[in-house]
């Protein structure tokens, strides 16, 4: 993942790592969990100043990529978020930005506000009872004037209770559309929902006859909407793969240290072949996660089918492998590993969330086979 980084990328990564270590060490994360807030808005603005919201945004709009491969920059940040078990709307904001920059002429002000961290925008696509599919949308968009009247329910909306703006997919008369809806618009009800992760939170959002004007319609034509949605899913999935990889990396490092420090029967845990072999398996899986998460992040500017494939490979592999790896880290720690006080559960929560959101391994495996069919056809 880091063998060929430029000096700028290294600096970007180390700045992010240091800022996270200083501003959200795990006791602060625990505090945020207890406070019911999830993340601090002022803190997110400082993160935006460091460039977390910049890579996907063109330079003329205040953004910019340190490597000219925006998703590679973002994957570095996501990995650090995983290592730190950091809060914040990194994934959901990036998914929304993917779409706004496609329509930058019309959404320049919002882009600037999201870029600066001033405004939080949340990706609102999942619906109760539905998986990730781009067609799995029951929320309706009935034409009204040059805009739409929106009704329906979304769930698993990350940072839904912190966001000012929601990017909502809906079923229009001619196919899928995407619109922006202010979280405080009449007819919008946001209800925080229980989420396994203590600081990465979700909400359920219901829309009852919410009227949006033409200026809030991001995607109106079915083909374009589907493509935009696909890009959003890919960005969220790729960043989640990178984040889960970072989380697993940190947990594994913690566990290897423990294996050297902990003695039983007068020997280090690290001297038992049964445990060494498990560590070797995990190290191999982890390097495979790093390889595939990095490959996915770097696949974004190529052929769309290859991009989709690389993302689903990474998300399915990392999602399938990393939670089991974390569970084994708990096992190797023994009883201390299943206590609230130990940090491991924070990471286990994070990677379990990462497995489930933005496409389960099973969903992404089916997507891979669909792509194989497409190549054959």
């Amino acid at each position: 993942m880091d063998f060929e980084l430029s000096a700028d990328q290294r600096l970007f990564r180390s700045t992010t790592r240091e800022f996270l270590a200083r501003s959200v060490p795990l006791d602060v994360v625990r505090g945020l969990a207890a406070s019911g807030v999830g993340f601090d808005r002022q803190w997110w603005r400082r993160g935006a100043e460091l460039g977390w919201t910049a890579p996907l945004v063109p330079e003329r709009l205040g953004g910019g990529s340190v490597s000219d491969v925006p998703m590679a920059d973002l994957a570095l940040v996501a990995r650090e978020f995983g290592r730190a078990c950091a809060p914040g709307p990194l994934v959901t904001t990036s998914a929304v930005l993917t779409s706004l920059v496609r329509e930058e002429n019309r959404f320049g002000d919002l882009l600037a506000a999201v870029r600066s961290g001033e405004t939080i925008a949340a990706w609102s696509h999942y619906e109760p009872g539905h998986g990730l599919g781009t067609a799995a949308v029951d929320t309706v968009a009935v034409p009204e004037g040059t805009g739409f009247r929106i009704s329906g329910v979304k769930d698993r909306v990350e940072c839904g209770d912190q966001a000012q703006v929601l990017l909502v997919s809906a079923r229009g008369p001619h196919g899928p559309v995407q619109v922006l809806i202010a979280a405080d618009a009449p007819g919008v009800t946001v209800t925080p929902t229980w989420t396994l992760d203590l600081v990465r939170r979700t909400a359920k959002v219901s829309f009852v006859d919410v009227v949006v004007g033409e200026d809030a319609v991001v995607q109106r034509y079915p083909g374009e909407t589907t493509a935009a949605l696909e890009a959003q899913i890919q960005v969220a999935a790729a960043l989640t793969a990178a984040e889960s990889t970072g989380a697993a990396e940190y947990a594994f490092e913690l566990t290897v240290r423990w294996m050297f420090d902990r003695y039983t029967f007068g020997r280090q845990l690290a001297s038992y072949q049964a445990l060494k072999h498990r560590a070797a398996e995990h190290k191999t899986s982890l390097e495979a996660c790093r390889a595939t998460a990095w490959a996915a992040a770097n696949a974004f500017q190529g052929d769309p089918i290859r991009t989709a494939e690389a993302v689903s490979v990474a998300k399915s592999y990392v999602g399938a492998v990393v939670p089991g790896l974390l569970q084994d880290c708990v096992q190797i720690h023994g009883g201390i590993g299943v206590t609230w006080e130990h940090d491991l559960h924070l990471y286990l929560r994070r990677v379990t969330l990462g497995r489930a959101l933005y496409g389960t391994p099973e969903e992404h495996r089916r997507r891979l086979t669909d792509l194989l069919d497409r190549k054959v056809a």
């Binding site: 993942m1 880091d2 063998f3 060929e4 290897v256 294996m259 050297f260 280090q268 690290a270 001297s271 072949q273 060494k276 072999h277 560590a279 070797a280 398996e281 190290k283 191999t284 390097e287 495979a288 790093r290 390889a291 595939t292 990095w294 490959a295 494939e309 690389a310 689903s312 490979v313 399915s316 592999y317 399938a320 391994p361 099973e362 992404h364 495996r365 089916r366 997507r367 891979l368 086979t369 669909d370 194989l372 054959v376």
Partner: protein, 415 residues
């Protein structure tokens, strides 16, 4: 392994275009079902040699071998590109392991100038096949505990003992044979590597039938085989150093990451088209569970390739110790298991029954399953790979050994 990249090397993109054109003009499409070990015949060895010769004459043999020994002197990146481009064509895959990717690179690393000039061009022209004489019937993973002996007689060496698990030895010309030359020192210190002509007087090769009915594995017996002094590869009593290079190349090759291969080995399941076809034939291509299995198999193949690139770059950049290659080896075994398991899951009853007594049909999936463990045993067991990863990559304490530091003639031996 790699030469410094200089400005006068052909750019990779141009090389790719040239290779693509040449391959399409000169080679035939890959046969549909390629099994690494089953179904090798005299004709298939001859075909592999012909194909290698074709590559040599076309200027595409030994991409990473130095020019002075018949290669092209290009980079692993050129090799990777050529492997990609050649995937769709019939390639001399039978020559890769062990000739092109293990034995010849060991000669390149450790051989005398004369040995390199004698053997490497012959290998690259497809004229010479090499084999490894390492494992012994009583040896298992304790390779350095071997008891095949070579004794000095005047300017010659007299070889006695037995070796086993050498694939395709019956078709080979030379074996890289590790023998004990000093019994009074600890086990690693008294070993010497020899280049043994397979058809020399005193060498007997017998074939071993494997669980799937194939007969590629061989056992060799050495009875007073006379070797000249220049048969030593590396230093006398320095055989372990030569072996280490050889094992490094073996792990790299078995993991699928060797820069010395002619084409990509498909046996470890790099391509899922066979599984897709199996699902189609058994009418299950629309089954959701089967589609998830296919996707998983596809994902693991891609991750395998990505891991190879990641580890290769990491070792190149000094971020990993070379022993990190064992992670690729371990992963490739996992992948081979998964592909074999998926085939059995998809084929269902068709994996274990056929239309008539002789018809394996989809039962190939069942046959392959019998040989599932081969890829976690060949090239060193995965238990050894796990030891290497935990001890050399993660720095964990070494396993205890009762023979460490002990002169070999004082070491306890079982039966």
């Amino acid at each position: 392994m790699t030469e410094p990249i200089t400005a006068d090397l052909e750019p990779v993109d141009e090389f790719r275009v040239r290779a693509r054109r040449w391959l399409s003009d000169n080679l035939t499409p890959a046969p549909p079902d390629q099994h690494g070990e089953t179904g090798k015949s005299e004709a298939s060895w001859q075909r592999a040699k012909q194909l290698q010769r074709l590559l040599y004459d076309g200027g595409f043999a030994g991409i990473c071998y130095p020019k002075e020994y018949g290669g092209l002197g290009l980079t692993p990146e050129h090799q990777r590109v050529f492997s990609e481009e050649s995937r769709a064509y019939e390639m001399p895959l039978a020559l890769n392991i062990p000739t092109l990717t293990i034995c010849a690179p060991t000669i390149l690393d450790m051989g005398s100038e004369e040995q390199k000039r004698t053997h490497l061009p012959a290998v690259l022209r497809g004229e010479e096949l090499l084999v490894q004489f390492l494992s012994e019937p009583r040896g298992g993973s304790d390779l350095a505990g071997l008891t095949t002996r070579a004794e000095r007689r005047g300017d010659s060496w007299i070889l006695n003992g037995a070796k086993i698990w050498s694939s395709g030895a019956y078709a080979a010309d030379y074996g890289l044979c590790l023998a004990r030359t000093d019994w009074t020192v600890p086990k690693h210190a008294g070993l010497t590597m020899f280049l043994v002509p397979v058809h020399a007087p005193g060498v007997t090769v017998t074939r071993i039938t494997q669980v799937d009915g194939s007969r590629e594995f061989c056992q060799e017996f050495f009875d007073d085989v006379v070797l000249p002094a220049d048969a030593v590869l590396g230093e006398v009593d320095g055989g372990w150093e030569t072996t280490n290079r050889q094992l490094f190349h073996e792990r790299t090759a078995v993991g699928g990451a060797s820069p010395y291969a002619s084409g990509v080995q498909t046996h470890s399941g790099r391509d899922v088209s066979g599984l897709v076809e199996l699902a189609r034939r058994t009418g299950q291509l629309d089954d959701l569970r089967v589609r998830e299995d296919l996707g998983e198999a596809r994902a693991l193949n891609m991750v395998h390739d990505q891991l190879i690139g990641h580890i290769t770059r990491g070792v190149g950049a000094g971020a990993f110790v070379p022993a990190a290659g064992s992670m690729v080896r371990l992963f490739s075994a996992r992948n081979a298991w998964l592909q074999a398991d998926m085939a059995v899951r998809i084929a269902g009853a068709a994996a274990v029954t056929g239309a008539d007594a002789d018809d394996a049909g989809s039962g190939q999936a069942g046959q392959d399953y019998l040989l599932r463990q081969a890829w976690s045993l060949a090239g060193g067991s995965t238990e050894m790979a796990r030891n290497i990863i935990s001890e050399r990559v993660l720095g964990m304490p070494r396993e205890a050994a009762a023979d460490r530091g002990l002169p070999f003639d004082q070491v306890e031996h079982g039966r």
